[in-house]
Amino acid sequence: MTYSFPTLMKNVILPGLIALVVGAPELTAAPQIAETYEAAQAILQDDGYILFAYAEDWDTYSKEVCDVLMASPVVQQAAGNAVFMRVPIPDELTEERKKADAVRYGKLRVPDANNYPALLMLTKSGRHYATITGPYMMKADPEKVAAEISKALQSMRNQEELLTKAQSANGIEKAKLLGEAALIPGINPPDAPRKLIQQINKLDPRGETGYARKLVPPFDLSMEIFAIESQKDTSKPHGWETALKTAEKYLKDTVYTNEQRQALYAISIGILRRHVPTSAARIRKLARQMQKLDPDSDLGKSAGTVIREWGTGLTLAEGWTPGIIAEKKPVEVDDIPPFTKPGTYTFTLVRDRGNHNCNVAAISLYDGKKLIAEDRHEGFVGPNKSENTEYKLEVSTVPSSPHLFIQFNQKGSANNSWGHISLSSPQ
């Protein structure tokens, strides 16, 4: 085994010197290294294997990273009694190489990693339970890697304990143990979720433990609900209405995990956005609930964008769309103009594009729930002609809680119109 001097210096000698200076007896564990499956069997203990997978001569750093980590006392300490094995990954996998690997790794199935270098953690029986890879591996940061190993190893020990208990249990108890083992965070479940669900359903046919539902991958929930949304059976209510009700029903079921609930919020937001043009306020509410569950998750982080992009309904600046003007009820304007002084506020309809007219019946201003100004008359803008496009609101007192509403008045389904509303405030 050869190391470059600087890498050795940084990751082995320096920590060693530091240990010498401050004294650190815990940094002295000896690694158990095996080159082959056969050799590994002789020293294999409860903590299974850690395979150090690296590029075999197709990059210039990952082998060194693995060598440094293998030699690092903190990594060795964190790895318990796991057996270390080197797994060089070739650039091309020839038939000869496959045969040689089959001999070297024996019954051990070396899992593929999405990224190298990687630490592949396997149980004593050879089950793959965790992969450690990513930026801190690339930087050969032994402290960080050791912490990850420790965490994964402890989780695996807990999982194995539950599985051992499950072997001697039956019915609901067994279902519960299997479910708990499958849901330990940060490591792989002991089997594919669909297989586990089948197994748990047999043990717990009435779903009392809830684990079969908890194990449904969030994306499967969306597939199920979107299949309902796209139903085109005219004898039934709109598919999207049933789909939305299904998502709401699931959200009431407390069994579902936060991750699943976030998915259900996202599903509901998507349905509302596609089918209910005036649902901005509902979308905002759902997005906030989704965010609250786990602000650091992908969906939690997306909530802000959702609120900004979809949680804004009709605005004067962005204007109307065919979906908005189809609404039969008054539509609230989201970007309330500054009603800073009494006087006449003139709103003018400005057509941007589209084949049809946009008809408006009234523009009304409320202060809280009280109507304080309104201009109610038939006006329209269209591709060929526009009439009565100005709506004047006489505001005598400045509202403290203004709410502005526009009542569109479309005829039939002729809604192909886009436009915005310009405002002239009192000087």
């Binding site: 600087p6 000698i13 320096l14 010197l17 530091i18 010498l20 197709w58 990059d59 210039t60 750093y61 990954i89 070739p90 650039d91 091309e92 996998l93 593929d112 999405n114 990224n115 190298y116 990513g134 930026p135 690339m138 669909r194 994306f219 969306s222 597939m223 609900i225 979107f226 949304e229 996202a266 599903i267 937001i269 998507g270 349905i271 956005r273 596609r274 992908d298 969906l299 982080k301 997306s302 802000g304 964008t305 959702v306 900004r308 992009e309 804004t312 605005t315 004067l316 600046a317 962005e318 989201d334 970007d335 103009p337 500054p338 400005v350 915005h420 509303i421 310009s422 405002l423 405030s425």
Partner: protein, 843 residues
């Protein structure tokens, strides 16, 4: 430990750490101990010149007037090349300074392309600028305060305006560049270096040289790339500059992209094989999907090759070459995202995640999902991020990609042989064979011939207007010097098509040259050349000697042999190119309306008898003939069918029995070559006893979705004396019925290739009436690739007792392009009467 010892160890540690940082991490030293740091950047390093031939032919100051410089170089050449005689030119090019002179002339000549390209780019950018400014004005004129959404949109618009204006401010032509000291430095360096100038003039497709040199000057100015001391870094910079300039992409983005690859190389994260790649493949790596923010209206997430996207792949998908072929599957295949928005509305699909995952196509695709297009872009750009050549490729209703693994091109996530490359080594030619031709063209063994041929071609190009007869001779010499130089073939054909010297006689001679020099090894490339550049010119020239034309067209088929350079390796999945297109174009050129003209039978007979014995071609041509046959009047059909059969069986009159035998062999050939199109087209030639049997099988109750196996094809583990390939088509047709019958195979199987990928809902099997023991232990398997090591069991059927077996796949909905029924055990025969696969076609 005593205080003194601690002090000593402290000093020791400090010294060791500083020494380490000085040698290995200068950026840390710069940060923590600036006084001790090395100077960074290429300019401060004592440049160790890259070995190679150097001579200054013209000083950079001459380049301020490109036309004058061009004349000076032309005069140097004219003094030594009097008659443009090929031997004389070849002799002239033996001296490196003469090669350099021709390279410099080519670089100047490409200045004309620069001007045209720059004008177009300027217009595109100006239009984009106007459009964006109008969008901002429109959002502001409402009079109300801007919503958050509008503010964010306007901020993005302003960033794009700034980027476009920056691009406007950069020099783009050689004249502009020569006036700038940094630019003059690059011009001097490139035009006095034989290898460097060769890369720009001859390494592949010509790019606007003003933009190439301008980009190189910007890269040099960044101080982050060692253009003068490291060959790999210079290669990266040059390859990037060439590819970005070729596509009219932003120079700023080119600089970022070059720095990305250089940093990857320096840190050892690039595949080591990159260094040894031929330069054209380095261009492929550095130029793949480089669209940036400033190319007219292109923005945001569709830029899989932007540096942030590549960085994501480098940090999260550092893989060996062979695993890059499956890298696409790191991203989930999702038509709808978690919000239910469909990928085809990509703005909504990625919108919720853009603020957090950023404008990083690969990060978005891996975290949110995508379908074939997104996944293949992820796979190909991940390969590029690792320094491995790859490109995406279009297939019918699908997108795949191709990766270089060792010495092979490996089609990845590919469903069809009909693939058109998105990155083109020969501009305007998207054929898969182009990669194999370029492999040979730029191989070490061929490089001397190629370089000479490219120089002669470049000389010819400079003479097209001033001395067309000399240009004609030189183009021919370029082809004779290197017969697989597609650039020379294409440019010559285009020259003949656009110059009065290009008579129809000349064009026919060119066809003849192609037949003799190109068709045998690269039939697809020869066909592409003829169809894109020669046939349209011949059509325009209204060739009168039809017999001579027909002869040269038929000769094409005489020279074909294998389907192409990759046919052997790839034969289970394609081994095929679009012969139907070529024969259709030939018929059109001869003025034969294949559906109406009685001459069609004669033409078909002639073509088929010419390719007789070359089964792959016979099969494909018969398939095409079948599609024509369906459109004919009954009178014409009879003679045409005879012509088909005569052609396919060597001209003999055939009985019904022989006809069936011929069809059997053609069907088996179609199945073995994976030719789904021919397999289905041949169904129309089947005797009616196979398409409308006297005792059809009853239709089974279908599973939800569509019958996705309709239009598919079967392939069994073997055939036998009991097998009737004419009955294979009916096997997939409910209400018809058919059969297959293998030999006594161990683990026998039958594979169904679906016409499209589908999420399966169920499979129905109709067993034979007897010998059910042969059908025990069947396993239904699915695969997206059909490769031997990529089958997944979806149902195990155990002992076979039923005539009708229904396999419900309703909960799993596996995605598949191939379904296989594996009969475990044996050796034993294996047979079924019906296989019906149901599901929902994937996007």
């Amino acid at each position: 430990m005593s205080a003194g010892n601690k002090f000593f160890v402290g000093v020791l540690l400090f010294g060791v750490a500083a020494g380490y940082m000085y040698s290995e991490k200068p950026e840390l030293l710069q940060k923590y101990l600036p006084g001790f740091s090395k100077k960074s950047g290429s300019s401060s390093k004592k440049a160790q010149a890259i070995p190679g031939f150097r001579k200054q032919i013209l000083p950079a100051s001459d380049w301020k007037q490109p036309q004058l410089a061009q004349q000076k170089l032309q005069a140097i050449i004219d003094r030594q090349v009097k008659n443009a005689d090929p031997a004389e030119v070849q002799n002239f090019l033996k001296k490196p300074e003469n090669q350099l002179t021709v390279n410099d002339l080519s670089i100047l000549h490409a200045q004309e392309i620069t001007k045209e390209s720059e004008k177009n780019l300027h217009n595109t950018r100006q239009e984009a600028l106007d459009k964006i400014q109008k969008e901002i004005e429109s959002s502001e004129k409402a009079g109300a305060p801007l919503s958050e959404r509008a503010k964010v949109a306007n901020q993005k618009r302003s960033e794009r305006i700034a980027a476009i204006q920056k691009e406007f401010s950069l020099p783009a032509t050689v004249e502009e560049l020569a006036k700038d000291p940094e630019g003059a430095k690059i011009i001097n360096a490139v035009t006095s270096d034989l290898e460097w100038s060769d890369q720009i003039a001859n390494s592949g497709e010509t790019a606007p040289t003003g933009q190439v040199l301008s980009t190189l000057a910007l890269i040099d100015k960044s101080g982050k790339v060692d253009l003068f001391g490291s060959r790999v870094e210079r290669d990266i910079a040059t390859a990037t500059a060439l590819e970005f300039a070729r596509s009219g992409w932003s120079k700023q983005d080119a600089v970022d992209r070059a720095i990305f690859h250089v940093n990857a190389w320096r840190s050892g994260k690039m595949n080591k094989s990159f260094e040894k790649l031929p330069f054209w493949q380095k261009r492929m790596v550095c130029g793949l999907k480089g669209r940036g923010l400033v190319e007219g209206v292109t923005t945001g997430n569709d830029s899989a090759g932007n540096v942030r996207s590549l960085t994501f792949s480098q940090e999260n998908a550092h893989l060996p070459s062979y695993r890059l072929t499956g890298a696409c599957w790191q991203a989930p295949y999702r038509l709808n995202n978690i919000y239910g928005d469909v990928i085809h509305n990509s703005a909504a699909y990625f919108a919720p995640f853009q603020d957090t995952l950023g404008v990083q196509f690969n990060s978005l695709t891996r975290n949110v999902g995508g379908v074939c297009g997104g996944l293949s872009h992820y796979g190909a750009t991940t390969a590029a991020a690792n320094g491995v050549p790859a490109t995406t490729a279009g297939e019918p209703a699908h997108c795949s990609y191709v990766v270089r693994v060792g010495a092979k091109w490996v089609p990845s996530y590919s469903l069809s042989w009909q693939r058109g490359l998105h990155w083109q080594v020969f501009q305007g030619n998207n054929k898969y064979s182009a990669l194999h031709m370029a492999d040979k063209l730029f191989s070490d063994a061929e490089m001397d011939k190629t370089r000479a041929s490219q120089s002669i071609r470049n000389l010819a190009s400079t003479m097209e207007k001033s001395a067309p007869e000399q240009a004609d001779k030189l183009y021919q010499a370029a082809i004779q010097t290197q017969p697989i130089n597609y650039y020379a073939w294409r440019d010559y054909a285009n020259f003949l098509a656009s110059n009065p010297i290009g008579t129809s006689q000349k064009l026919v001679e060119l066809c003849d040259m192609a037949n003799n020099l190109l068709v045998g090894a690269y039939p697809e490339m020869a066909a592409a050349l003829l169809q894109s550049s020669v046939f349209p010119a011949l059509q325009k020239a209204q060739h009168t000697d039809k017999e001579a034309l027909k002869k040269v067209l038929l000769d094409f088929w005489k020279h074909v042999n294998l389907m192409g350079p990759d046919a052997e390796w790839d034969k289970s999945f394609n081994g095929r190119w679009n012969v139907e297109d070529l024969i259709g174009a030939q018929a059109k050129l001869l003025g034969i309306d294949m559906a109406k003209d009685p001459a069609n039978a004669d033409f078909m007979r002639s073509v088929l008898s010419t390719v007789s014995g070359k089964t792959a071609y016979t099969t494909a041509l018969l398939s095409w003939a079948n599609t024509i046959y369906e459109k004919m009047t009954p009178n014409l059909q009879r003679s045409f069918l005879n012509a088909m059969i005569q052609g396919a069986t060597g001209g003999a009159q055939t009985s019904d029995e022989d006809r069936e035998k011929m069809l059997n062999s053609v069907i088996l050939a179609a199945e073995k070559s994976g030719d789904l199109k021919s397999f289905n087209a041949l169904a129309s030639s089947l005797p009616s006893s196979y398409t409308h049997p006297a005792r059809p099988l009853p239709k089974p109750t279908p599973f939800p979705g569509k019958l996705v196996s309709r239009g598919g094809m079967i392939l069994a583990s073997s055939t036998s004396g009991y097998d009737h390939p004419c009955a294979h088509w009916g096997l997939l047709e409910p209400g018809v019925g058919g059969s297959f019958h293998t030999g006594k195979d161990k683990d026998a199987w039958v594979r169904i290739t679906l016409p499209k990928q589908a999420n399966l809902t169920g499979v129905v099997l109709r067993t034979t009436d007897g010998n059910l023991h042969r059908l025990n232990n069947m396993v239904v398997q699915v695969s997206e690739t059909g490769r031997d090591n990529d089958w997944h069991n979806v149902a195990e059927l155990g002992t076979c007792k039923e005539k009708l077996i229904r396999v419900d796949l309703g909960t799993a909905h596996p995605l598949a392009k191939y379904v296989r029924i594996l009969r475990k055990g044996g050796p034993e025969f294996f047979h079924l009467l019906g296989i019906y696969v149901y599901g929902n076609p994937a996007a």
